[in-house]
């Protein structure tokens, strides 16, 4: 990281900056040296920042009109859709925004997996990222409960019921979560409160995430360290900002496609039926971005076992920097890891697919094989692979990627 000292030009600027170095911070952010060979998979960090802010702003407006009460939540959403000026737009941005947020975060995570961004010295960035991801899932889950449709209600029932599997204290925990003996108005009001609060926690973690990033600087597609900052890097502004902006615009075009022309395609039609504790929907399915985990959860006949695997599947990712011991970061130079990376992607997509299907027959079988493979990938394949793999020779520097040290 560049340790330059920044002195503001104006007298007032200097006076201010000596007391609160905001200008130094701004100057650090604009000059931040960034590897010049970053590809578009690196633009998703900026896109995610946009998504978070967009969710917070649209959410703020929605909260002005939404009524967190079991009897009124559903119709207050419809009031927003029908009577609030551009309420439909705000709501569709927020609901599709959640999906786009997850789309971006999955790309961001798999980018890290492919290019080994989780490896030393970026372990803390990675772990902060996983914490962000956990909070995102919690936030999205609670947000989905707020419209108080059938899927809201039954999704909440299924997921909160999981906690009852915890030995001894499980039942009390569920009762405590619900604020009663079933999902009901107290559940809705606390979910609303937490759904409003969690994004601020996420924002805090994102600041730490970027702070931690600015210590070692960015990884890059070939995964080697910056040798000569003057040759290998460009200042963040304007070179990276304009690239991020371009990628964001393309992302927004796709986002707008959903908002304006298929706003309900990613949701479940049952959520336009008001919650009814007496009628259980035929298939209770979570939102698409949680489906792989849902498949893992249902792959074991035992409830506690399912819950353990569910949380295990996420926490195992936190240990990734230590499970993969290869010194080479980028999979471009790791022929074996590259193959298993793609198998993992297929596996996760397959889990997502069966997560949407009833847990029976062939689907259940695929879910079981997929779950077993998922854990095998991180616990067996990766540790072994990273020791036996013969990596390809690395380039000497970012600037001369062709000059391999053959």
């Amino acid at each position: 990281m560049s340790e330059h000292t920044y002195t503001p030009q104006s007298k007032f600027g200097k006076w201010f900056n000596d007391r609160l170095p905001l200008l130094s911070l701004a100057s650090h952010l604009t000059d931040y040296p960034t590897p010049k060979n970053l590809n578009y998979w690196w633009t998703f960090g900026g896109i995610l920042t946009f998504c978070l802010l967009s969710q917070m702003i649209t959410g703020l407006v929605l909260a002005m009109h939404y009524v967190a009460h079991a009897d009124m939540a559903f119709s207050s959403i419809e009031h927003i859709m029908r009577d609030v000026n551009y309420g439909w737009l705000i709501r569709y941005i927020h609901s599709n925004g959640a999906s786009m947020f997850f789309l971006a975060v999955y790309i961001h995570i798999f980018r890290s997996l492919f290019y080994g961004s989780y490896k030393s010295p970026r372990e803390i960035i990675w772990i902060l990222g996983m914490l962000i991801y956990l909070l995102m899932m919690a936030t999205a889950f609670m947000g989905y409960v707020l419209p108080w449709g059938q899927m809201s209600f039954w999704g909440a029932t299924v997921i909160t019921n999981l906690f009852s599997a915890i030995p001894l204290v499980g039942e009390s925990i569920t009762t405590w979560l619900w604020g009663g003996y079933a999902v009901d108005n107290p559940t809705l009001t606390r979910f609303f409160s937490l759904h409003y609060f969690f994004p601020f926690l996420i924002l805090g973690l994102v600041i730490l995430h970027i702070w931690a990033l600015h210590v070692p600087g960015n990884n890059n597609p070939i995964g080697i360290d910056v040798e000569k900052p003057s040759k290998d890097t460009v200042p963040f502004h304007p070179y990276i900002t304009i690239k991020d902006l371009f990628a964001l615009l393309i992302f927004l075009i796709i986002f707008s496609g959903f908002i304006f022309f298929a706003p309900n395609i990613l949701g479940h039609s049952d959520n336009y039926i008001e919650a009814n504790p007496l009628v259980t929907p035929k298939h209770i399915v979570p939102e698409w971005y949680l489906l792989p985990f849902y498949a893992i959860l249902r792959s074991v006949p035992d409830k506690l076992g399912g819950v353990v695997l569910l949380f295990g599947s996420i926490f195992i990712l936190m240990a990734l920097p230590w499970l993969d011991s290869s010194k080479v970061r980028s999979s471009i130079f790791r022929p074996l890891n590259r193959i298993f990376f793609w198998i993992l992607i297929v596996n996760v997509l397959a889990l997502g697919y069966v997560g949407a299907m009833p847990a029976e027959g062939l689907y259940l079988l695929i879910a079981r094989v997929g779950t077993a493979y998922y854990f095998a990938h991180f616990l067996i394949i990766l540790p072994v692979l990273s020791r036996i793999e013969k990596t390809q020779p690395l380039p000497l520097s970012i600037t001369d990627p062709v000059l391999t040290g053959k």
Binding site: L89, Y239, I250, S256, F261, S269, V346
Partner: protein, 259 residues
């Protein structure tokens, strides 16, 4: 960057096409060419007006539509009845209001600001009157069913003779597109059930089409505004991204030419 990975992407795509085509046990719902489909989709104004007629004259005796107000019928992007027509429509309904200064509830003719009057005071009453089945509220029905407008239309036109050996209880009817092929609503439509003032022939299919159009608007009253705005937003984003792309290229030339 991913050149060497193209082959994997292809395998992946193939895999999903394979899975997707191999499993489909559900009833296929035929698709129709609705005027409101697609990027520039708009409602057919006269079809909406006819659809409203079918709704009030036929469906509203069982199905409520509690999220709509009479004023919506005159709003832009909907059936667009004139202010006078909306007032007249609303006045046709008896609305319970009150309490008045004596503490009594009273009825008065409807006003445009009133919500659509429901046929039953509550869900239980609706079920009791319909042999235990609840005629669902129609405000968002189109969005609450997989297949949307195509599904609603299919159900309305899907009444056929049951196959032999098909068991139907009392008050249950055979429908090709309902789950389990059973529905507790008798076919609500039959030719010339209503008479359209614009001279359109009221065939069963025509009425089904009109009422489905109306229900789609009811569920998504800002659909036209959404399509219009979306078109503009996307054109704007495309132009802006082209401009940004070329400025980016210019800017990066400084870096790339140094190599």
């Amino acid at each position: 960057m991913f050149k060497s990975n193209k082959i994997y992407i292809k395998i992946l795509l193939f895999f999903f096409i394979l899975i997707n085509s191999s499993v489909s046990e559900e009833i296929k719902i035929p698709e129709h060419d609705w005027s409101f489909k697609g990027i520039t989709g708009k409602f057919d104004r006269s079809s909406l007006q006819r659809g409203y007629q079918v709704y009030t004259e036929v469906c509203s005796s069982c199905h409520s539509m509690s999220l709509l107000s009479y004023r919506n019928l005159g709003e832009k992007g909907g059936p667009e009845f004139s202010v006078e027509q909306v007032k007249a429509i609303a006045a046709n309904f008896e609305v319970i209001d009150g309490p008045n200064n004596d503490g009594e509830m009273f009825t008065r003719p409807g006003r445009p600001s009133d919500k659509f009057v429901s046929p039953y005071p509550n869900v239980q009453a609706a079920m009791a009157a319909n042999g235990g089945a609840y005629p669902p509220d129609m405000s968002v029905l189109v969005k609450a069913r997989k297949g949307g407008a195509d599904y609603i239309y299919s159900v309305l036109t899907g009444y056929t003779e049951p196959p032999t050996n098909f068991d139907l209880e009392e008050g249950v009817y055979y429908n090709r597109y309902m789950e389990g092929n059973k529905i507790k609503m008798s076919n609500p439509l039959s030719d010339d059930l209503v008479s359209y003032s614009d001279g359109t022939k009221a065939t069963e299919a025509q009425m089904a089409k009109d009422v489905t159009t109306f229900l789609t608007w009811a569920a998504e009253p800002h659909l036209e505004a959404r399509h219009k705005l979306g078109f503009k937003v996307i054109i704007f984003l495309i132009i802006l991204s082209i401009l940004v792309y070329f400025s980016m290229r210019r800017l990066w030339l400084r870096i790339d030419s140094k190599e």
